[in-house]
Amino acid sequence: MRRITQQALSLLGSISLALSAHGIAQAAQDSVKVGMMLPYSGTYADLGNNIDQGFQLYIDEQGGTLDGVKIEYVRLDDESNPSKGPENANRLVNRDKVDVMVGTVHSGVAMAMAKVANDTDTLLIIPNAGAMAITGPLCSNNIFRSSFSNWQPGYAMGKVAADKFGHKTAVTVTWKYAAGDESVQGFTEGFEEGGGKVVRNLTVPFPDVEFQALLTEIASLKPDAVYTFFAGGGAVKFVLDYAAAGLKDNISLYGAGFITDGTLQAQGKAAEGLYTTLHYADDLDLAKDKSFREAYEKKFNRAPDVYSVQGYDAAQMLHAGLKEAKGDFSNRDAVVKGMSSATYDSPRGKLTLSPSHNPVHDLYLRKVENGINAYQGVAVAQLGDPARGCRLK
């Protein structure tokens, strides 16, 4: 008897839930709930905050509504912890009933979000994580990226190192994890297309920062160039150690832009003169970038960086989708069509999306001069990602 009552109760419960879900879907006409799943604490807290602020800036510039649709936020700290990724993403979708997920920095967590987005058919915009798989084998109609894939800066640097600087041999150094491997893969492809040869791939376990053994190895290999992918504390230490070991004057050091982004104060003189490639620089001569930087500094009292730009563009993408759907978020096909076919006026320059929903943008060559990443020219114009294994073509 008791069991029957329980069943009846749970049936009632699910009916009322279904009804309320229906009610929300109706209400969603005039508001869209955005689930910001970002690292608000831990090593990547700074990146998470910048992405969040970039996103906010765009929404506020539009007066808090996109095509008449009010934007509401739900914020969740993902702690850059991949093992909590599925649970956190599910919480956003099932408990908080968000319409769009925006996140995140850590690739492992982003993969978990992509899986949940696919299982629940939720829209996902990734404002940083560069794992190639997300717009490769895992690519999907409802998954977008406003940042980059790890392959892109690496490929551009490889091209420049071979074509512009005429290097013949190179050694790569990175952490032994997916992002490092993918970045090195990009560099190797670009460098070898230009006639160079990567003679050795050196790695250290993530997040180990003891590089002395590898520096000695580089000195004994004597390549023309060294390509490196590190970020945060590892990036600072590598650049400092490289200079202290006296290698900076003998063997040119190149890197994906992250090695000198947000780390220049800590690297000081050791970073001066380093060439890197990225889809952003600190002194781009673009009207859009200038107004963006001005507005950002006014609002948050600090200078924006590449992460802020990626957050800003994530919001632009959502806007493009709503524009195409004329403010009707439930019209998913139109939202997706709008997002994927738009040409964005990004602070980084012209931005479009590839069929796999990965950014196609200019990769800039930058040089560290007087403590900023100064623009030196376009390394590769409107570069996409090979999107190997993606069905969306």
Binding site: G42, A45, D208, T216, S220, G233, Q265
Partner: protein, 289 residues
């Protein structure tokens, strides 16, 4: 690998090993002699590095920074022992793990509130900025050799203190039989409070010394914590000599592992630990040696 490269790699190994010893020595004191599993040890290292960052910009003088840092470290350690750790000696290890893990979270959050989450650099003091040429293309920073020198000094000092002084004798006796020492009229609680403060000071010193080469960043204590435990376990819990030998051993295994077998470099030191434990379950050296 030619002979020069081999010798430079040996130097790298020794230098890394010595730094590991400095970090782990405080842990082996607290863990081995007082029997407290202190997961917050890495946080002390982190605090040291951040202190070097803040004090260096305030004082502008390296020696003064280290001195002030050490004074603060001893006071800090003393208060922590009095307020938290003194309640843990008689408790089981799980409670110690819980509380010290809690401390990690508190310290990380405080760091985030007080200093922020950005990466900062600490300048190498001007009189230590030089390098000496080594091999054909490489130079070796004098600061690294200076760090190694300090590590050796600390090692010798600790050995002398524990083996040859009256205080060292009391500490060793206390580790073996607390009640007996107490009944001989020695204030063991006070003694332990200072041993703990010393352990904290060692970790903070390690952090302060490492800051100019490694920069300061969130979460920097975590990897150090695990390495320190590996050093302590291989060396034999509570043995300073053991920690010294183990740290050098790890320095060599890690350095040459990175050169010859990159795929496994991350696991090698744990394999080393497993082998040592199979061979000598108590670690290389006995407690108090």
């Amino acid at each position: 690998m030619d002979l020069t490269t081999f010798l430079i790699q040996c130097l790298n190994s020794v230098q890394y090993g010595l730094l590991l010893f400095l970090v782990a020595s405080g842990l082996t004191l607290i863990f081995g002699i007082m029997g407290v599993i202190n997961l917050a040890h890495g946080s002390f290292y982190m605090i040291g590095a951040y202190m070097a960052f803040t004090l260096a910009s305030l004082t502008g003088n390296f020696a003064l920074t280290i001195l002030l840092g050490l004074i603060f470290a001893v006071i800090f350690g003393y208060l922590l022992e009095w307020g938290f750790f003194s309640f843990l000696y008689e408790r089981e290890h799980l409670l110690q793990v819980l509380m010290t893990y809690g401390l990690i979270l508190v310290f990380e959050e405080l760091r985030s509130i007080l200093v922020g989450d950005e990466v900062y650099g600490v300048a190498v003091p001007a009189w230590l900025t030089g390098t000496i040429p080594i091999g054909n293309d490489m130079t070796y920073p004098i600061y690294r050799l200076f760090m190694s020198g300090i590590c050796v000094l600390v090692a010798v000092g600790m050995y002398f203190m524990i083996k040859k002084t009256r205080i060292g004798m009391m500490v060793r006796a206390g580790a073996t039989n607390r009640e007996m020492v107490q009944s001989l009229g020695i204030n063991i609680s006070l003694l332990y409070r200072f041993v703990f403060a010393g352990g904290v000071a060692l970790a903070i010193l390690a952090g302060m010394l490492a800051a100019p080469t490694s920069s300061v960043y969130p979460g920097m204590g975590n990897s150090v914590l695990i390495l320190s435990f590996v050093v302590v376990v291989i060396g034999g819990i509570g043995s300073v000599k053991g920690a010294f030998v183990a740290a050098l051993l790890i320095g060599f295994v890690d350095t040459f592992g990175k050169v010859f077998w990159q795929e496994g470099a991350g696991a090698l030191i744990y394999v080393l630990m497993a082998i040592v434990l199979l061979w000598k379950p108590e670690g290389l050296f006995k407690q108090g040696s």
